[in-house]
């Protein structure tokens, strides 16, 4: 007879000890603050998800994406992978997990952008909850940061690394431990390898943070910082130890890239940084100015924000902005890195305004009415300015009636209510007005962020999208892909097992980006320095070239036809230089306001163009007829 003793005591009951899973989370105690953090995070995500791929990958982005694709598939890497190794690798991880596409290529900056809010949340104990939350709000609606989170240029990763460096240094001074210095080293390395600008901005933030904290113990943490830095640096630059020469390549390519793209052209685009700061970031700018003015005037408003924090932020902002103005190679990466301290200082300023308003002792209802009136007043003034700048055009009576209605029925009553409220509010009128202003500027920033991906509305003055590939690039790519699918569906081999990618595409090296990315799965894609290089026995079906080389090619070969398309969006000529004196001339204010509100410029936006050349037999099918 079998033994009937139970063995259950040894197996089933072993886990009788309480588990982490049983730990209670009192959801009922979720505060307004928690909800606000979640709200900011969700808003930031929402703003950044709209139209993420409306602008196809720019040539620079496409080169990073192409390298990431090459890394995933084991192909050789370009020099860009050496100068931006962290960015390439994070993009490669996204490709490996979720497949290669424009959308997944831009996933890493999106996650980094959300990571910034997470780090701000973590920093709330150091810089105060309200400043952290306000910074997160400014961050969420900021057009510069939104654009940067849609670009695979490493800028957003650099900003995340810089903020984490700052947070870690602050944290180390309060709660020392071995992990944080190591993490600091890791972040420093990530900043440096995400973008060549890391040499300047990551070093700057580290030095400033250390100077600000003045922690005597910091020196003892240096070995750990060094370990974290060196290990991460080796892992990242060698692409996880698989390309040992990557370290040397990094030291060759990254400083070289910094030199050629940013330092060599020093001072060339200062006006663009200025426009990015004033026109795209008015909320951060206004709130930062408020903070600085309050400190300079030694006005406290009962705020709990220590002046030292404002001074620290300003100390970071000044050199950061200086570099932003001085360095060339303007684009979202530089704007984001240079203007992030402005967002932080703006957050501090905004928190002071909010705190002063809430502490004014008034009831919520009155505060709400005051803010609402302030908001409406500002909107009405802006609208009046807008109507005035547009002018009567061909309907003077209508224009006058609009002005009268706006002035008498809206502006005037609002003005009287505002005066009345001001009298009631006393000292609180300034913070409340500023809060109303923040609300207006916040909405304005939100609008500008949401409109960034728009490709169907003419907003020629948006400097943030300059350098993007024109939507026609993606459209042409889709048409060629469809054409290839329809005509070469049964041209199959192991390089193209599904068939449909059988066209022979030759691309002039001058315009290989972004086409090398977009036609990455065409086995017969060939990049050449000279369009005459291909085998005459194996003539290309499609040639993509610059306008000049394309015309030369077609002149030499009469069996090919050429059509030009837009390639890269450029800055309108009127923005390529800025005459500050002209801004001060009242005659230009109307245009200035139009530019501020609608991004209208004196000259239309221009595009660099490329030539699409098809062999005659394809040209007729593709275009309907052979172009002359």
């Amino acid at each position: 007879m079998q033994d009937t003793r139970s063995a259950s005591a040894d197996f089933t009951d072993e886990s009788a000890r309480s588990s982490t899973l049983d730990r209670r989370i009192d959801v009922s105690s979720l505060s307004v603050q928690s909800l606000l953090w979640v709200g900011v995070l969700v808003s930031a995500l929402g703003v950044r998800l709209i139209g993420r791929t409306n602008w196809p990958l720019s040539p620079a982005e496409s080169m990073i994406a192409r390298d990431a694709y090459a890394l995933v598939n084991g192909e050789d890497l370009s020099g860009l992978a050496a100068s931006h190794p962290a960015t390439v690798q994070i993009t490669a991880i996204m490709f490996f997990l979720f497949g290669d596409s424009d959308y997944t290529a831009r996933l890493a900056p999106l996650l980094a952008s959300l990571g910034v809010i997470v780090v701000l949340y973590w920093m709330r104990h150091r810089i105060g909850t309200l400043p952290a939350l306000s910074t997160a709000f400014i961050w969420a609606v900021s057009p510069v940061m939104t654009m940067s989170s849609m670009r695979i240029d490493g800028g957003m990763l650099l900003v995340l690394a810089n903020l984490t460096i700052l947070a870690l240094v602050f944290s180390m001074s309060v709660e020392p431990g071995p992990g944080k210095p190591v993490m600091l080293g890791v972040m420093l390395s990530i900043g440096l390898t995400a973008h060549p600008l890391g040499w300047i901005f990551s070093t700057l933030v580290l030095v400033l943070a250390v100077l600000m904290v003045r922690d005597p113990e910091f020196g003892s943490s240096l070995p750990n910082v060094l370990i974290g830095f060196v290990v991460t640096f080796i892992i990242v630059t060698t692409h996880v130890l698989t390309r040992p020469y990557g370290i040397i390549d990094f030291f060759r390519e990254s400083p070289s890239s910094l030199w050629t793209e940013h330092v060599q052209t020093i001072g060339s685009g200062w006006n663009l940084t200025l426009i990015a700061m004033t026109i795209e970031e008015p909320l951060a700018l206004a709130m930062a100015a408020t903070a600085i003015i309050l400190v300079l005037l030694r006005v406290n408003w009962g705020s709990s924000t220590p002046p030292a924090l404002i001074i620290a932020c300003a100390a970071w902002l000044i050199p950061s902005l200086t570099f932003g103005f001085l360095l060339g190679g303007q684009g979202p990466a530089l704007y984001a890195a240079a203007l992030f301290p402005l967002a932080l200082l703006g957050g501090v300023g905004m928190s002071m305004v909010v705190e002063a308003t809430l502490a004014s002792g008034f009831q919520w209802r009155r505060i709400s009415v005051a803010i609402l009136v302030g908001f409406l007043l500002i909107v009405a003034v802006v609208r009046l300015a807008d109507v005035l700048t547009i002018g009567p055009l061909d309907d003077p009576p209508g224009w006058v009636i609009t002005l009268l209605l706006l002035g008498l029925l809206i502006l005037l009553p609002l003005f009287f209510i505002a005066v009345r409220l001001m009298r009631d509010l006393g000292l609180a009128v300034v913070p409340m007005t500023l809060l109303a202003l923040a609300l207006v500027l916040g909405l304005f920033s939100l609008r500008n962020s949401v409109l960034l991906p728009t490709t169907t509305q003419e907003r020629s003055g948006v400097i943030l999208v300059a350098g993007s590939s024109a939507p026609s690039v993606a459209q042409i790519e889709r048409r060629i892909r469809t054409y290839s699918g329809d005509t070469t569906r049964y041209v199959q081999d192991v390089r193209d097992p599904t068939g449909g990618h059988g066209l022979v595409i030759v691309v002039d090296a001058m315009v290989s980006a972004p086409f090398a990315w977009y036609f990455r799965d065409f086995p017969n894609f060939l990049e050449v320095e000279d369009l005459g290089q291909f085998d005459p026995e194996f003539p290309p079906d499609v040639v993509i070239a610059t306008r000049t080389s394309g015309e030369e090619f077609v002149q030499a070969r009469d069996d090919y036809a050429l059509v030009e398309y837009a390639l890269v969006r450029q800055l309108p000529p009127s923005l390529q230089s800025t005459n500050v004196g002209a801004w001060l001339n009242p005659a230009n204010w109307r245009d200035g306001i139009r530019f501020m509100l609608h991004r209208d410029t004196a000259t239309a936006v221009e595009f660099e163009r490329f030539a699409l050349i098809l062999r005659e037999d394809h040209a007729e099918s593709f275009w309907g007829s052979v172009p002359d």
């Binding site: 003793r5 049983d22 469809t482 599904t498």
Partner: protein, 823 residues
């Protein structure tokens, strides 16, 4: 620093509170509630307020009871919902899917439905008809039912969170594994019967193990009810019942009359010997099942032939003998004063299967309710809502007969090793975890030999799961028809085993001291991370080294490894060796347990990443491009595109869906489904003599010279209707498969002619394994598994869309097509 906003909120609350008076009262339940008591209040107000307060109090208490576990389950549920429903309609319907959806749609349109065993159980057709009735018919709504059941499947381990089953961590791990399993994900978005059947099987399994833990009537009702349900889904349910029956039956017999087990084994052996002897004497084979629409006389003739066949007769005789012997033995051993149930099962120790079975037999009411639910569902669905009483026959004997008949047909012609090469390409964690747990169970049982493990509930649950996985794998590998979607039936128990092993690991870590766990965290950082990075490094290096040029070898273009791989190929494995060295050093310096936890955790994390990679790309990117063995054959996306173009054209030309479209038999699946909204569609058996229809779909294989002549003035575009993975150039070469009907497919490795012995099969496996010493072969296998890089172009079944000359100019503007006259 206190948050200003929070402070203001508190102030505001205080301000509001000053306007009212509060009192607290203790209720009989022991908790204290806050009740608003204004100075003057009507009775009605008081009632409303009390009800509201009671309700809000309950919500408050519920929110306070939320644990980490609840939040994890909530996240799993959200991820399951997103992953199952996202972009559900973008993939073209597979041939089988279109059959299911078309007949469901016809049912919803009032055209009726009659069960046919070929299309498995009636549940799918009823539930999809319901979906179409509510949401309308589209590719998306066709799959929402299966996606919904896919979510249920992910969440079902919740019912096994008890310590007697998978444990809290084990249940979570199982759910996560089901969530990220590429096979489960893909087929949870594929309108076939398998996920419906799987949910039923899982519910049945849960009911059994829950009843074993705590014998309550509800589990009997659930078990019997789900039995009725699973039989309306898929014939694989018969295998599930066989597995469950043999497991519990063997345990009951072991308790009640162990010698019966020996008798049964003896009976099986005797039957095998008898059959061999009869085969040797030249007795003919067992008559083939008339599975294809048999007439009554065919069925009678088959049955009489079957029953009089010497092998079958011998089998029946042996089985009868064994049963009689067992009954006789039982009768001798039972206590005659206590009746059959108590007399035979009553003496079984508490908690054993036999004692639970005895208890269950006494609960007649539960059986009755369960039978009413399950039986009601069975009858309702098989008779198509009482409109086809013949469905009762086709759903039982008909279904069994049809699918046993299919065993010899060998549809798909898949070899015996099909699942052995399919599963490791996708389900790394399931394989590693279930093998690991099997080893653990064996060691556990060995260390407790002499003790009864049957009442160790977790052991019982896991042993039953392991038996389920093994038996299902063996039966499906034996079955003549092997298809990729059947993988889920043995995969589910494997995932449960893998989840259990992960759960046991985490429980074990939780049992260790605080200090031990703190050290583990450090080890994870300083050893686990480097180990993981070195494995990742190996992958990147392998990817790089295997990305050599395409070279023509033996007349075929093939991928080679890089010429510049330094020194020798093995050097690419250097990081992996360093990783192992790291682990070995850790084992020496930190002890085996730390090492096991860290290395195990790292490997699980990496495998999860690999599964996400495989599952995501297959499901959301290449769902209808057969680069994957799991996809096998798919309708090409060109079909979707053509249908969209025709819809657009129909609207432009007729203002509605009135365009005349003809399609031939060779293209009817999935076109029956896709053409359903074209009011002037027509299925034709051949191309008309003088066709005038604007559009005609015809399979390329149906176009001979005559048809070409008739369609001479039409233009056409050609594209694949269906396409498939090049299986002859990939997995079929792994080994010889002598069981296949088609001779040339038995051996794709050598030129040796059939027949093949067991030795030939073993040698062929040896050759395949041996070829892995070749770096080129390693590179190709690596790129196939990790990058789905095929070694041959995919195959296809072509379809042509012919366009009448009157419409040619308008339609061909939509695409760049071929023109017939150019040929």
């Amino acid at each position: 620093m206190p948050c200003a906003l929070c402070r203001i909120s508190t102030d505001l609350l205080k301000q509001i509170r000053t306007e009212k008076t509060y009192s607290t009262e203790a209720k009989s339940t022991g908790h204290v509630t806050l009740t608003i008591t204004p100075n003057v209040r009507s009775t009605e107000d008081q009632f409303v307020s009390e009800v509201t307060d009671d309700w809000s109090d309950q919500v408050q208490r519920a929110l306070q009871r939320v644990t980490v576990e609840h939040l994890i389950w909530l996240v799993i549920f959200l991820l399951a919902t997103i992953s199952r429903f996202w972009d559900l309609g973008s993939r073209a319907l597979h041939h089988d899917e279109s059959l299911h959806t078309f007949y469901s749609w016809a049912f919803s349109e009032g055209q009726g439905y009659s069960h046919h065993p070929m299309m498995h159980g009636p549940f799918l057709f009823h539930i999809n008809a319901l979906s179409y009735t509510i949401f309308g018919a589209s590719d998306f709504t066709s799959r929402i039912t299966v996606a919904f059941f896919g979510i249920i499947l992910v969440m079902l381990p919740w019912l096994l969170r008890g310590r007697a089953f998978l444990g809290q961590w084990g249940a979570i791990a199982t759910s996560v594994l089901i969530l990220v399993s590429p096979s489960m994900l893909y087929f949870s978005r594929f309108i076939r019967h398998d996920i419906f059947a799987l949910v039923g099987a899982m519910v049945l399994f849960i009911a059994v193990v829950r009843y074993m833990e705590k014998p309550e009537s509800r589990w009997i009702i659930l078990a019997v009810g789900s039995l009725g349900y699973v039989l309306t889904t898929h014939e694989v349910s018969f295998i599930n019942l066989f597995i469950l029956g043999t497991f519990t039956g063997a345990l009951i017999l072991y308790r009640v009359i162990p010698v019966a087990l020996a008798l049964i084994v003896g009976g099986v052996l005797l039957f095998l010997v008898t059959r061999s002897v009869l085969d040797w004497t030249g007795v003919g084979s067992i008559p083939e099942i008339p599975w294809q629409e048999p007439s009554t006389s065919q069925v009678i003739s088959y049955l009489s032939g079957l029953m009089t066949h010497p092998v079958v007769a011998a089998g029946i005789a042996i089985a009868t003998g064994v049963v009689l012997a067992v009954v006789w033995l039982l009768d001798r051993r039972r206590d005659h004063d206590m009746g059959w149930i108590e007399g035979t099962l009553g003496a079984s120790p508490e908690g054993t299967t036999a004692s639970r079975f005895a208890l269950a037999l006494h609960d007649g009411r539960a059986w009755l309710i369960g039978a009413a639910v399950g039986g009601g569902l069975f009858v309702l669905l098989y008779t198509s809502m009482f409109s086809n009483l013949g469905g009762l026959g086709s759903g039982t004997f008909g279904a069994l007969g049809y699918w046993l008949g299919q065993h010899d047909v060998q549809r798909g012609q898949q070899p015996w090793f099909y699942y052995l090469v399919l599963t490791p390409q996708y389900e790394y964690l399931a394989i590693a975890g279930s093998l690991g747990l099997a080893l653990f169970l064996a060691v556990y049982a060995w260390r407790r030999r002499g003790m009864s493990l049957e009442t160790d509930r977790r052991f019982y649950t896991l042993a039953l799961t392991a038996y389920w996985a093994l038996m299902m794998f063996l039966v499906l590998s034996w079955a003549g028809e092997k298809m990729p979607w059947l993988i889920v039936h043995f995969l589910l128990p494997m995932l449960m085993l893998a989840g259990a092993v992960i759960g046991l690991g985490i429980e074990w870590i939780e049992r260790q001291s605080e200090e031990w766990r703190a050290n583990l965290a450090n080890d994870a950082l300083y050893t686990g991370l480097p180990f993981g990075l070195l494995i990742v490094s190996t992958f990147i290096l392998l990817t790089w080294a295997s990305a050599g040029p395409f070279v023509e070898i033996d007349g075929r273009l093939q991928r080679t490894i890089r010429d510049d791989v330094p020194f020798t190929w093995w050097i690419v494995l250097l990081p992996a060796l360093l990783g192992l060295l790291t682990v070995a050093l850790m084992a020496i310096f930190r002890g085996f347990r730390h090492t096991l936890a860290v290395a195990g955790g790292t490997i699980v994390a990496l495998m999860l990443v690999l599964q996400v990679h495989a599952g995501w790309n297959m499901t959301y990117r290449d769902g209808d491009v057969p680069r994957d063995m799991l996809i096998y054959v798919q309708t090409s996306p060109e079909v979707h595109r053509s249908v969209r173009e025709l819809e657009r054209f129909s609207h432009e030309a007729t203002g509605s869906m009135g365009l005349e479209v003809l399609f031939t038999g060779g293209s009817q699946w999935p076109l029956n489904w896709y053409m359903r909204d074209f009011t002037n569609r027509r299925l034709i058996s051949e191309i008309p003599e003088e066709p005038t229809a604007p559009f005609i779909f015809a399979a390329v294989s149906e176009i001979g010279d005559d048809e070409q002549q008739r369609l001479a003035n039409y233009s056409y575009v050609e594209f694949p209707l269906r396409w498939w993975i090049p299986e002859d150039n990939t997995y079929r070469r792994f080994a010889i498969a002598p069981e296949l009907n088609t001779e040339w497919r038995q051996n794709l490795q050598t030129d040796d002619p059939p027949p093949y012995s067991l030795g030939d099969v073993l040698r062929s496996i040896g050759r395949s394994v041996g070829s892995m010493r070749n770096p080129e072969q390693q590179g190709r296998i690596y790129r196939l598994i990790v990058h789905r890089e095929l070694s041959a172009p995919i195959g296809g079944y072509g379809l042509r869309l012919y366009v009448h000359p009157d419409y040619e100019h308008q339609f061909l503007g939509l695409r760049y097509g071929h023109r017939a006259e150019e040929e």
